[in-house]
């Protein structure tokens, strides 16, 4: 379902029974998405004693246009390859937004009591299971019953004169199927499909008149795979040998779910119906309109939040003995604090990647004041945030929400933080840790986090991997397990010196502000942010076939001075977004 992600395998299939050897760190870091796009690769020496390992590979190259076999890819605008477009199901958020946009506010909490905080980087989607299908059935029944019970909604969705004859009512049903139903399916119903819809209407109408016929149709349509999945069949219009144009309706859906996370609005639908999504200029016009809409402005901040796992912060547990101040109220405030920063970054700070990583602007309220050593009483008592400049700050990298997530329950974690930087900013994927790892060092009074971690340098089985994470993460040591600033760790003065290796901006640094400045100068990091955006916006991992789309998008991003606000428009213009590969011939 999801694209193959990496080719880390050193050897052919190791038989199960010989797999008992410790699966140690190979020291090899592959770029996620594996075999493709601008892969930085770091090769450490597996199991070598204490050495950081030789570093090699093409780290730092932005777009090498190098395919799996290392052959250069030529990007030919006349023969684009849009890559894979797996059939995806609406996420729960998209489903609820769609229902709301189509029918207005309908209470579905009995079916979906809580909105799940699934990652927006939904690179793999499980097939439906029995519980999902039951929920779809319940929700469809609830929505349909609510729609037909509400005369004003019915007047919008499926109007029909009161007291219409059976024949006239059937005509109304027919008009519904040719009219509003187009919005439900995000495509018109083909003539060949009308009969089976009308047959269902007839079955319902026989059991309760026009209203019941419409109710049954709605129940079925809202459980139809055409509604629940983002169906993209493409058109017969070829664009070179490996791409076809999407239909106008399909493109409208891509724009709408891509930029607004919901179903196309009436304007988009009208444009699709009129064939006004055919040209690049048409699409650009819609794009500008959609980005100016309040919903369009939320996409980049949502991307940034999702990137640092902001939706999951509420579920992060801390040890109450170590961090008694860790409360739901503080967690909520941290989320707002991060969102305030993102909003300000995009509105007032130029929205660049550099600002994201080096900004000195911090937002503080009375709940979060203590984290930065500010005085809570000097801040508004209503909990509102005030911005100020903090010389220690480094934008996203010093957000408490980020630092608390990338930490353990009772202490900081240079490992998590180093891993995050390497994987999320340099797109270098670390191998999984081995099974049967030795016990972690216990926290002893007077021993700093840095001192405990030196064990990784001694134990050969740990060194190869940890040399790739710990030296970066130790630069964050001025921040404890909930992101509070500190200068003393367990009785020892904090040493926040760190080192970046295996990147295009290698060097030593002290503290996160210097690290942020290093990353901000990295061409690899700029390219990696583009890759992350691709994954987020396309809902899938990049593949070799996406090389040209990525290159095009990253060129646009680079030309803007790495302005994050240009990302939505940049991806919309790529082959990956505009086209799809022709569907293989079905067996039927």
């Amino acid at each position: 379902m999801s694209a193959p992600r990496r080719a880390l395998t050193r050897s052919p299939w190791a038989g199960c029974m010989i797999g008992l050897a410790v699966a140690g760190c190979t020291g090899v870091v592959s770029s996620p998405g594996g075999q493709n796009t601008g892969g930085a690769s770091v090769t450490g020496s597996a199991g070598s004693t204490g050495a950081t390992g030789a570093t090699s590979g093409s780290a730092g190259s932005t777009m090498t246009s190098t395919g799996a076999a290392g052959a250069a890819t030529t990007c030919n605008a006349a023969a684009p390859d849009p890559g894979d477009a797996p059939l995806t199901r609406l996420t729960q958020g998209q489903y609820l937004n769609t229902i709301n946009d189509l029918f207005g506010k309908i209470d579905l909490t009995s079916v979906y009591p809580a909105t799940s905080a699934a990652s927006q980087f939904g690179l793999a989607q499980a097939d439906v299971d029995g519980a999902d299908l039951t929920n779809y059935e319940r929700a469809a029944e609830a929505v349909s019953a609510a729609v037909v019970a509400n005369t004003s909604t019915m007047a919008q969705v499926a109007p029909c004169a009161a007291g219409a004859t059976t024949a006239a009512a059937r005509t109304c049903a027919s008009q519904f199927l040719q009219g509003f139903a187009t919005r439900i399916y995000r495509a018109p119903i083909a003539a060949a499909d009308m009969d089976r819809h009308l047959a269902l209407y007839d079955a319902g109408a026989a059991n309760g008149g026009y209203t019941h016929g419409i109710q049954l149709l709605l129940e079925a349509m809202l459980q139809s795979s055409r509604f629940l999945y983002r169906v993209e069949l493409g058109t017969a219009t070829a664009v070179g040998p490996t791409a076809v144009k999407l239909s106008d309706y399909e493109l409208a859906s891509r724009l709408s779910y891509g930029l607004w996370n919901t179903t196309p609005d009436v304007t988009l639908n009208t444009a699709a119906a009129a064939g006004k999504l055919e040209t690049s200029a048409d699409v650009s016009a819609q794009l500008q309109r959609m980005l100016q809409d309040p919903r369009g402005a939320t996409m980049v901040p949502q991307f940034l939040g999702s990137w640092i796992a902001l939706p999951q912060l509420a579920g992060v547990a801390k040890d109450s003995a170590t961090y008694p101040q860790w409360t739901p109220a503080l967690q909520t405030a941290m989320v707002t604090q991060a969102q305030s920063f993102f909003t300000d970054l995009l509105a007032n700070q130029g929205g660049t990647l550099k600002a994201l990583l080096t900004s000195k602007t911090v937002f503080t309220n009375n709940a979060t004041a203590a984290l930065s050593g500010a005085s809570a009483s000097a801040l508004p008592s209503d909990g509102s945030f005030q911005s100020s400049q903090n010389p220690n700050a480094a934008g996203l990298l010093t957000l408490p929400a980020f630092l608390a997530t990338q930490a353990k329950a009772d202490q900081s974690s240079p490992i998590y933080r180093g891993k995050f930087v390497r994987e999320q900013f340099f797109c270098q994927e670390l191998p999984s840790p081995p099974a049967n790892i030795p016990p972690a060092p216990v926290i002893t009074p007077g021993v700093s986090t840095r001192e405990r971690l030196t064990e990784h340098e001694v134990a050969a089985s740990c060194a190869a991997c940890h040399a790739l994470m710990d030296p970066i993460g130790l630069g964050f040591e001025n921040y404890d397990g909930i992101g509070a600033y500190r200068t003393v760790d367990n009785g020892k003065p904090v040493d926040a010196s760190g080192m970046l290796a295996g990147t295009d901006v290698d060097g030593t640094f002290t503290g996160v502000a210097q690290l942020g400045a290093l990353i901000a100068n990295s061409a690899t990091a700029e390219s990696c942010v583009g890759t992350q955006w691709f994954r987020y916006a396309m809902g899938r991992a990049e593949q070799v076939a996406d090389t040209c789309s990525l290159q095009q998008m990253k060129t646009t991003f680079h030309a803007s001075g790495a302005d994050l606000r240009t990302l939505p428009a940049a991806i919309v213009q790529t082959p990956a977004f505009m086209y799809r590969r022709p569907l293989a011939q079905g067996s039927n």
Partner: protein, 450 residues
């Protein structure tokens, strides 16, 4: 399985005039067995897979003996299993049965991700994007034992998946898989489960008949609809739609066989199932619903997860005021942590005792108890938390399983793959086969069981 009681009931219901019989409600008590209407019907065999997280404390779980095969005595050293002592003659405890299928340099997934995916599949995780627990990895690569058994059932629900406080990243939350990358989510909301298994509770017969007729029309439409769409696709997309179609067909089966044969219990007013402190209450509600669904013949297969793998649940009601996962990483010399982990496992054993109590209280059609005809497998994602070992998983089998295994023993093996155990259970359910899960990990049925 054609002579199981649920099948017989279905026939009887049709004799009674189809839909009309669907509203027949048994009077209290709820725990009235799923009686068969045919006199000589053999009781169904039920399978329950129970998962708990973060490993165990071996010295408090396994009996202290070196014998390879000894009667299960549950002496004072077996503190964790002590609550189950009343059932020791119907239990097997297995030592040296390892989740080998998770281990290997090329098997994706962090130390807490692999266990749940392997526990009932005898496989490993596929490559994939999930990084929440030191990934990356995807979902499990094959079907799980509960689903192999579920595929042979004719019940209203092929299986039901229960959980308590299922949180965190994929794939920590799944032990049940219909196939590669096809997890069955463990539902951790008792009210949601209730509305699923007692969907028609409270309807009048006229309402019910109309609802059933409507759903039938809609399902027919959907089957046709998805078949048409499916024909346009190939490969993974087609498989995805096919999985959807299969699910629709299952719902149709539920509609045909679904019956309010039991009185719906009354649930307390809804509270947040994700609330840390309500863990015991949710566990209790879920155990009630699971045993009710089994008793009523709604399903013969269930899985039950006490939280997700890597669980960070706290257990303040038994004095454990710290996070389960973090505690499980403490050194062996940290006696406070060892005690906390032991207490968590004792509490889980008490919950399983409740499950067995409820099964033992039900008389099946031939006079045996439902426990005699059930096999409950309690496993764990790990053997031991602080080493992340997949060796010496604390396996416990309970119930008669229809008399297939010689129960009441503690068996020690010299590091055998757990695939062998899964194969033995499959065979005990009358499903032939000579290998289970990853065939390179299976060396045949587990010896000395039958």
């Amino acid at each position: 399985m054609s002579d199981t009681d649920s099948r017989t009931k279905f026939t009887r219901r049709r004799l009674l005039g189809g839909l009309g019989a669907m509203t027949v409600a048994l009077t209290a008590p709820i725990w009235k067995p799923a009686t068969s209407f045919g006199a000589a019907a053999k009781p169904a065999k039920r399978f329950i897979g129970v998962f708990s997280a973060n490993g165990t404390i071996g010295s408090a779980f396994f009996p202290n003996t070196t014998a390879a095969d000894s009667p299960l005595t549950l002496g004072p050293e077996c503190r964790i299993l002590a609550p189950l002592a009343a059932y020791k003659s119907q239990m097997l405890v297995l030592h040296g049965v390892d989740m080998t299928s998770t281990i290997g340099a090329n098997k994706p997934g962090g130390p807490h991700m692999k266990g749940p995916g392997a526990m009932l599949t005898g496989g490993s995780l596929l490559p994939g994007p999930f990084t929440g627990s030191e990934g990356p990895a995807g979902y499990a690569d094959r079907i799980s034992l509960d689903q192999v058994i579920a595929n042979t059932q004719k019940t209203q629900f092929p299986s039901l998946e229960f959980g308590v406080r299922m949180q965190g990243q994929e794939p920590l939350k799944y032990i049940s898989y219909r196939g590669a990358s096809m997890p069955n989510a463990a539902v951790d909301d008792p009210w949601q489960i209730f509305s699923r298994i007692f969907a028609n509770a409270g309807m009048s017969q006229a309402q019910l008949q109309k609802t059933i007729a409507d759903r039938k029309s809609v399902l027919d439409f959907l089957k046709d609809d998805i078949t048409r769409l499916e024909s346009r696709f190939t490969g993974a997309d087609r498989a995805r739609l096919d999985a959807h179609l299969t699910g629709i067909q299952d719902i149709e089966t539920q509609l045909a066989t679904g019956a309010a044969t039991c009185t719906a219990p009354t649930l307390p007013a809804r509270t947040d199932p994700e609330d840390m402190d309500s863990f015991p209450m949710m566990a209790s509600l879920q155990i009630n619903l699971m045993t009710l669904a089994l008793t009523c013949g709604m399903t013969n297969v269930a899985t039950f997860m006490f939280a997700n793998a890597d669980s960070w649940q706290w257990y303040p009601w038994i004095g454990v005021n710290e996070e389960h996962h973090a505690t499980s990483h403490a050194d062996d010399t940290d006696m406070a942590a060892q005690e906390a982990l032991t207490q968590i496992n004792i509490w889980t054993a008490q919950q399983i005792t409740t499950m067995l109590d409820k099964l033992a209280a039900v008389t099946d059609s031939d006079g045996s108890t439902m426990l005699d005809n059930s096999l409950l497998l309690w496993g764990n994602e790990l053997g031991k938390g602080n080493t992340h070992t997949y060796q010496n998983i604390p396996w416990m089998l309970a119930g008669g399983g229809g008399g297939q295994f010689r129960m009441g023993r503690f068996l020690q093996y010299p590091s055998v793959p757990h695939n062998n155990m899964l194969l033995s259970i499959q065979n005990a359910f009358g499903i032939p086969g000579t290998t289970f899960g990853d065939p390179t990990c299976c060396t045949g049925p587990l010896s000395n069981l039958t």
